[in-house]
């Protein structure tokens, strides 16, 4: 074998056609089995879900401009926060990064031309769409006001459209499992020669860890929601104490899924950051192994912490203590990742472009979200904070500050890869500033509201909470403005942007060793994986010199 410097990867061939231009009919998109096109379809669908969930959130914030009725009644408010939670969690946060970016990039990152089951992949997308339609149809079928958590026995008694909603979520969960199985099999069986386990890019590792959780945890959610539906429709009474059932059993089942679901949302985000930081620092990760093993650690230990959602639900003191300790353990894996990312910057050659700005935003907000997460797992403090706006602020720091920020990083980082165009860096930085500032403006006041004792899911609130609520609402407008600006300049870039080079970031990761956008079969000629995905210490004449 020759040294890395002498045998540069040769796959940067300009293709005549790419995956997007090869066939132009609508049918060729809607019935495609190309993982890249399915990724794009998923991107459009999940982004619509984000827009819808965001609209619900804006309405909720407007209602909170003043105590008492501002623009809607109590019932409407309760339905909106339920829809906001369900849309954001199941239709956006859980599927967004794996199904859009994962589908597009995972096969390319391991040198494969497809996922293991391309038709299953298409089926998974259409099941997602059917599930989403089913969930949202509840708005016309009597709406639903149970909160996204469906706590029994309220959910089994509430005279609202519980059944269609739950069936829709069940379907979305099914589509998630199909994607998870597909990714696991793809990573196990379709890695190209030279892509051994310890050379697999970190984003793919994150997809792999996420898929394990999806496949193991989602069936439990499906089971619990089916029981809720049966309780609601047929009066089974499994969670209804009046019929000998136990409402706390529901909470155990629900959180056994829904706490790992938090890691389904954050692991892909961590995968994105693990790609963006080495690329823009032009530097190998401080410890590739630490990131891989902490990903797997989170995937497994995350299953043992669900009880920290139930410290005031009447669990035994021993259980509470045990779940408290286990929650701190899982936080350690995240801490390892944070240290590794930060030390990756050291001795690098750092280009502070928009994706890296978002990665830093992620880092900052995720640290606050994570530390306040450990804080709410501290039992005596949780007694005060549980079910208040403190918890709302904490999990929005993880889900919006973490996952959504990383989603924006991924969007900018892979935009030239997917579209072959470049966006304006200046607008990118402005968009970041608005999103980041708007985020802090929205959620920092909510921490204080929680401290002051304002419970969550409150239509009305005592007048003394108004100032902080108004601040939070103003912040949400700034956040929305930043997101609209981003949408606008990205659409503009998609249509009129400059043509991007195949590897505009000078990344060494495997997906950048093919054309941008990639050809239909991902590579024109067999790519060379001799040089590692993060090997920035060796010369790479083919790209680095050609680009500069």
């Amino acid at each position: 074998m020759t040294g890395a410097a002498e045998s540069p990867p040769r796959a940067l061939t300009t293709a005549e056609t790419n995956y997007a231009t090869v066939r132009q009919t609508v049918g060729s998109w809607l019935l495609t089995t190309d993982h890249k096109r399915i990724g794009v379809l998923y991107f459009v669908a999940t982004t619509c879900a984000l827009a819808l969930g965001g609209l619900f959130a804006l309405l909720l914030r407007i209602e909170h401009l003043s105590p008492g009725p501002t623009v809607m009644g109590a019932m409407t408010y309760n339905r909106l926060f339920t829809l906001h939670g369900i849309t954001m969690v199941w239709l956006f946060l859980i599927p967004s990064i794996p199904t859009a970016f994962g589908n597009f990039l995972l096969p390319i990152q391991i040198g494969a031309t497809e996922v293991a089951f391309p038709r299953l992949n298409l089926l998974s997308f259409w099941i997602y769409v059917a599930g989403a339609v089913c969930v949202l149809s509840a708005m016309w079928l009597g709406a639903i006001d149970t909160g996204w958590t469906f706590y029994a026995p309220y959910s089994t008694q509430s005279p609202s459209a519980v059944v269609p909603t739950v069936v829709g979520i069940f379907m979305v969960g099914w589509s998630t499992i199909l994607t998870g199985v597909n990714f696991i099999v793809t990573v196990h069986t379709m890695r190209a020669r030279g892509v051994t386990w310890m050379r697999v890019p970190l984003f793919t590792w994150a997809m792999y860890g996420t898929s394990i959780i999806q496949v193991l945890a989602t069936p439990v959610l499906g089971l619990s929601l089916v029981i809720v539906a049966l309780d609601h429709a047929l009066g089974w009474g499994l969670f209804d104490p009046a019929r000998g059932g136990d409402p706390v059993l529901y909470q155990h089942l629900f959180w056994f899924y829904s706490h790992p679901a938090v890691y389904i949302m954050i692991l892909p985000a961590m995968g994105v950051v693990s790609e963006v930081i080495p690329t823009f620092a032009h530097k190998n990760p401080y410890s590739y192994e630490a990131i891989v093993y902490s990903t797997l650690g989170i995937a497994f230990v995350g299953f043992l912490t669900w009880g920290h959602h139930m410290f005031v639900a009447g669990m035994s003191s021993f259980d509470a203590g045990a779940f408290g300790v286990l929650s701190m353990l899982v936080a350690i894996f995240s801490a390892i990742k944070v240290f590794t990312w930060v030390w990756t910057l050291s001795k690098g050659s750092i280009l502070t472009a928009t994706p890296l700005l978002y990665a830093f935003g992620f880092l900052f907000l995720f640290m606050f979200g994570g530390m306040t997460g450990v804080a709410v797992a501290t039992m005596s403090l949780d007694v005060h904070w549980h079910d208040t706006y403190f918890v709302v602020a904490h999990f929005h720091f993880i889900m919006v500050g973490g996952t959504l920020t990383a989603w924006f990083a991924a969007l900018h980082y892979w935009f030239p890869k997917v579209t072959g165009r470049m966006y304006s860096e200046r607008l990118g930085a402005l968009g970041f500033a608005l999103v980041f500032g708007g985020f802090l403006g929205t959620f920092v006041p909510q921490f204080l509201l929680g401290n002051a004792g304002m419970p969550r899911r409150y239509y009305d609130y005592p007048a003394r909470f108004q100032t902080l609520n108004v601040m939070s609402t103003l912040g949400s407008w700034l956040l929305a403005l930043g997101m609209l600006l981003t949408l606008a300049y990205l659409i503009h870039a998609l249509l009129f942007g400059e043509r991007a080079a195949a590897n505009p970031w000078r990344s060494r990761c495997f997906e950048w060793r093919t054309a941008s956008p990639p050809p239909e079969k991902n590579f024109v000629e067999a790519p060379d994986f001799e040089l590692g995905a993060y090997d920035y210490s060796a010369l790479w004449p083919a790209t680095d010199e050609a680009e500069s």
Binding site: P67, P69, G73, A74, N78, D145, P153, Y154, P159, P241, A242, D246, P247, A281, H282, N284, Y286, A290, V312, G314, A320, G321, M328, I332, A335, F339, T340, W343, K347, G348, I350, L351, F360, M367, F368, M371, A375, T378, M379, S380, L381, D382, V383, H384, D387, T388, L448, G453, M454, P455, R457, Y459, D460, P462, R506, Y536, S537, T543, E547, S548
Partner: protein
């Protein structure tokens, strides 16, 4: 110092013996969080400036992992988290360890009110009266869905579950009136399920205890009955529509029904509305009121009618701790869950 942090963090008044320890841990946790994020943020900023790109595409050295530094950071972080856990767990166990001399109060939660029953047989809605400086134990259950009894000033919260009794205790250290919230979502009026803890000093508490046997007028008896049976959770007495129509200026007035008829709110109509609410539904309101046949006795029914009659001059200010309402009516056609146990 602690007081300053309480202001900064917007913490409510510290009215129970738990507050000091919990707030101190709160401050410790928040300060270490800010320090941790600050240090990591400073290091990141330093790296970004120190190692900014000078020659595009330059190779960078492969840095050997310092296992010592990684482990030190991990062990340090873990030690910090464990310290939080040890303190937090001790405080949590303290909250679970009920003193033997605690005054028992039975609490029944239902959509959307709190009912407190004292050992001497007295019952009060939404206002919990306790003496200063003595531990109080709440023995709680729910009549319908899950609620959560939350007193921010006492730093206590406990989910109240149907079909099982749970307990919570606290010891007030400051006289005053403190809000009670329901913290577990329980339906349309979740945010109106408010109450108060009234902490009385010794003299006032003794006066309150002796207050029980006052003779009362029929209207006052009716008001007490209306409070006891939670009528006022759905009907206001200050003119605002709520789950049901207001009682203010109701007596003797014409009432438009859902089926288009119009009746006069005379004693017969009012009595029928208590015993067979579905018979004549007022236009614009959901048919959610349960029957009170068998739970309101004759004397109470009469007294409630008398009470409604006394509100002819209304609106009056609520003398019971009615949730501060700015109420809206749920859209017509949306059936509310019949509150399974609205009639005590």
């Amino acid at each position: 110092m602690l007081e300053l942090f309480r202001k900064l963090l917007h913490l409510p008044p510290a009215a129970s013996s738990f507050a000091r320890g919990v707030d101190a841990l709160h401050v410790f946790v928040i300060v270490t969080t800010f320090l941790g994020v600050g240090v990591i943020g400073a290091i990141t900023t330093y790296f970004v400036v120190r190692w900014r790109e000078r020659a595009p595409g330059a190779t960078t050295p492969r840095v050997a992992v310092s296992v010592g530094r990684e482990s030190a950071l991990v062990v340090g972080t873990l030690a910090l988290f464990f310290l939080w856990w040890v303190i937090g767990y001790r405080q949590y166990l303290e909250m679970r360890r009920r003193p033997a001399n605690a005054i028992p109060v039975y609490v029944i939660a239902k959509q959307w009110m709190w009912k407190f029953s004292y050992a001497d047989g007295r019952i009060a809605n939404d206002v919990l009266t306790v003496p200063l400086g003595r531990p109080v134990e709440l023995i709680m259950t729910s009549r319908d869905v899950i609620h959560s009894f939350f007193v921010p000033a006492m730093r206590v919260k406990q989910d109240v579950l149907p079909g099982r009794y749970v307990t919570l205790w606290f010891q007030p250290i400051k006289a005053g009136t403190y809000p009670v919230f329901c913290a577990e979502y329980c339906g349309v009026s979740h945010s109106k399920m408010l109450g108060e803890v009234q902490v009385l000093d010794d003299a006032s508490y003794r006066r309150w205890q002796q207050d029980a046997t006052q003779s009362t007028s029929l209207a006052a008896f009716g008001r007490d009955a209306a409070v006891r049976h939670a009528c006022l959770s759905c009907h206001t007495i200050d003119g605002q529509p709520h789950i049901g129509p207001t009682w203010s200026r109701l007596y003797g007035s014409p009432v438009k029904l859902a089926d288009g008829r119009e009746v006069v709110a005379d004693p017969a109509y009012l009595t029928e509305s208590m015993m067979d609410p579905a018979a004549e539904i007022v236009a614009g309101y959901p048919a959610v009121m349960p029957t009170y046949l068998g739970s309101l006795d004759t004397a109470e029914t009469a007294a409630i009618v008398e009470y409604i009659r006394s509100l002819q001059a209304g609106p009056v200010t609520a003398s019971v701790a009615l949730p501060r309402l700015a109420v809206s009516v749920s859209p017509p056609g949306v059936a509310q869950p019949p509150p399974a146990g609205a009639a005590p």
